[in-house]
Amino acid sequence: MENLIGLLVVAPLLGAAVLLCGGRRLDRGGPWIGTLFAAASLAIAAVLFAGLLGRDADDRTLDATAFSWVPVGGFRADVGFHLDQLSMTFVLLITGVGTLIHLYSVGYMAHDERRRRFFGYLNLFLAAMLLLVVADNYLLLYVGWEGVGLASYLLIGFWQHKPSAATAAKKAFIVNRVGDMGLSIAIMLMFTTFGTFAFGPVLERATEAGEGKLTAVGLMLLLAACGKSAQVPLQSWLGDAMEGPTPVSALIHAATMVTAGVYLITRSGAIFNAAPDAQTAVVTVGAVTLLFGAIVGCAKDDIKKALAGSTMSQIGYMILAAGLGPIGYVFAIMHLVTHGFFKAGLFLGAGSVMHGMNDEVDMRRYGGLRKYMPVTFVTFGLGYLAIIGFPGLSGFFSKDKIIEAAFAKGGTEGWILGGAALLGAAITAYYMTRVMLLTFFGEKRWQPDERGELPHPHESPRTMTIPMIVLAVGSVFAGGLFSINDVFLKWLEPVTGHAEGHSPVSALTVTAATMVVLVIGVAIAWAQYGRRPVPVTAPRGSLLTRAARRDLLQDDFNHVVLVRGGEHLTRSLVYVDHSLVDGVVNGTAASVGGLSGRMRKLQNGYARSYAVSMFGGAAVLIAATLLMRAV
């Protein structure tokens, strides 16, 4: 049973190896091979899940140590796996959605001559992501952490001939590296504090360490989470990451990888519980981001970027929940799972739309597509309802719980967080409705593409629609199923622990409030985009709108401060190295040369002047001897 965990990771890794080293002969079969390996890992996951369900609630954990990785004096890092309910949840999500998106990609990438490599990268990503969630120590988790970063780099930049894609990929990786720095420092702190960084000892004995250290660790972990989960202030890469193929955006930048941060924080719950200050930081980041993302999402006309903004904001919810501590962990994960469904669905829908519209991404050039691609419309619509939290659909349950928990934090803090969450819900409703209206309703605003031909949208092939349907189903029912007598809660509780917060406002009130803001949001959106026709070119818009279009200027800030500043720094350093550090050396050389040049004049080739110097020397010698005798 335990060995299967290793296999879980190895299967897609094998696929990646086969596809990447396989050479041209695999070009045709590549997609299906990749999908096969993904499916294999899904099957293994299912078996493991069954195995876990077979046991009783409190020992649903599997531990396996493959081999000792870095055995060095006083430093043990093993390649070991730890599978419990939390990681199992993730494994299922990753393999499930992953497999679906492999399937989708078969259709989506059908016409790309490098699709073999694409699937290789996808498999690589699966392997890394699975490693991330089943690792039993932070260092191994770090490996997966960077691995998914690599995969995302490769996949964002998959269409490398587009400079924008290449730049986006680089940006994503580097911003993530900043986060990784946090993670590695956190690991070092753990090592110096606990002498190890395996989950078991660290988390069990977290309380024994000083709170100061724990706070430091917590903040570093938060930094890591910010990087990977695109939270303020490291969120800037996610928008650009949409340069990648849509399946990638769906899998990596919506469903799985970006949620790694939530996993990290939930996994390290023990540390955060013991470090309130760190928790405060976490909830702050979460609250800020969920608003930030939502606002950005309102302004974007690029459908994928709008969805990216929404992803940010939704993950903001999760982080917020995770920051709330035991009252929030479960709901964070729950929202994570449901979000995985509907956001992946939405992205696949978007991909399908683009597929039909000659890769047009500007929503202002869509309109009235519901007739032309019904399946996409329905699945997308269900996803939409789910995300805005329409009663009865997944989003409703998970998000509602989070908002409650936010209020339940208690005190002014609780009110602020709850308010933020509510506001976020309203904005979510607004921008999602906007997306919906712009894309599927209203009159056609199609424009000829650069090849000058009007798009004639059509429904996508079966391989693409099936995953969309499955995901739609998930996004409709998942939340409901999870909430039936708190099955999900009971399932996770042994790992994350759970505490009922005492909310100042009753759950019912919260739900009602949520409904109200939801209606408001939808109504505004309808007023703006549903009733009157939409201009094809975006109006200049208010100051806020323009700022939001530019990611609230945060990107510009980065550019001016970090990029420009960095360029100046390096340029000046190059100068310093060349003229100062090297200048000293060359200066010495030059001075020696000059000196010898002057000395050379003494060697004038006249025997007599040599004789003079010899004679002088003789005189000096005599003087010396005399002095010696004198003293």
Binding site: N604, Y606, R608, S609, V612, F615, G616, A618, A619, I622, A623, T625, L626, R629
Partner: protein, 286 residues
């Protein structure tokens, strides 16, 4: 060397730390000569003169050797140095002739000053060294020379210094051979034939005919006397450039002209007398 010479009489007292007055006098006189000779050797403009004054110094030194009881060396000094080496010098001077090198004008910047500085410093230091060497006690050469100076030297030379002696022999032979090798020049290219020389002369066109000979009429045929041109002035072509450079050309054009005038004068007189005689002879005949 007879015992009555001041040199030998000085030797009697040579065990003391002072010399006889005779030697003192001799020293002070000859020392001045020696220094003068040395200075001359350094500062005379012409190599020949330097050589001669140097020879003088060497002779003085020979005397000093004798005075110090080094009879053998004294003689050798005169025979070898003054006799052989200095003559060799003079010979080479003649061979090499004179060049601009003889001018005492300094060409290297600062050389003189540096030289003066070094020399003065060196000299004073040397003197100072000798001065504080406190050489009060003199054994005198008398005892060493008891068995005769030459015999004593010979004894040392063929016992203690025999190896050095042999080596100097080798050195001398090597020197002789070396000198021969150095001065011997072998032809690298074929000697130019008469014809080629003639042709070259014509081609250069500077001096086609052979150089005119020196000397004037039948009176002067020495090489240092330039020949005269028809107008009576001298021609430089006729004397060797070396002599010209040395300024040893004897210009006799002046006296030659005077002689000519005198000659004409005398012949004129002679003709006068002859005319009157035959006039008288004509008158007596009636």
């Amino acid at each position: 060397m007879n015992a009555s010479s001041p040199v030998v009489s000085s030797l009697a007292a040579s065990a003391a730390s002072t010399t006889s007055t005779g030697e003192a006098v001799q020293f002070w006189i000859l020392a001045v000569v020696a220094v003068l000779g040395a200075l001359g050797a350094v500062f005379m403009r012409q190599a020949v003169h330097s050589a001669l004054s140097l020879a003088g110094t060497m002779i003085v030194l020979a005397v000093f050797y004798l005075a110090n009881g080094a009879y053998f060396l004294g003689v050798v000094q005169i025979v070898v140095y003054t006799g052989a080496i200095m003559m060799l010098f003079l010979f080479v001077v003649m061979l090499v002739g004179v060049t601009a090198a003889d001018s005492l004008k300094e060409t290297i910047k600062g050389q003189r000053w540096l030289a003066a500085l070094c020399v003065l410093g060196f000299g004073t230091l040397l003197m100072a060294g000798i001065a504080n060497a406190s050489l009060k006690e003199w054994n005198g050469i008398g005892r060493a020379n008891a068995g005769g100076n030459v015999e004593g030297l010979a004894a040392l030379l063929f016992t203690k210094y025999v190896f050095a002696f042999e080596i100097t022999g080798a050195l001398l032979i090597t020197a002789a051979v070396g000198a021969m090798v150095l001065t011997h020049r072998e032809r690298t290219e074929r000697a130019a034939t008469q014809r080629e020389l003639a042709e070259r002369r014509i081609r250069e066109g500077k001096q086609i005919t052979p150089l005119p000979a020196p000397g004037v009429y039948a009176r002067h045929n020495a090489v240092d006397i330039p020949g005269l041109l028809p107008d009576g002035t001298t021609s430089d072509l006729t004397v060797s450039p070396t002599l010209r450079a040395r300024g040893q050309v004897r210009d006799v054009s002046g006296e030659a002209l005077d002689d000519l005038a005198a000659l004409e004068q005398r012949s004129g007189d002679w003709q006068e007398r002859g005319r009157s005689e035959d006039a008288g002879a004509k008158g007596a005949g009636k």
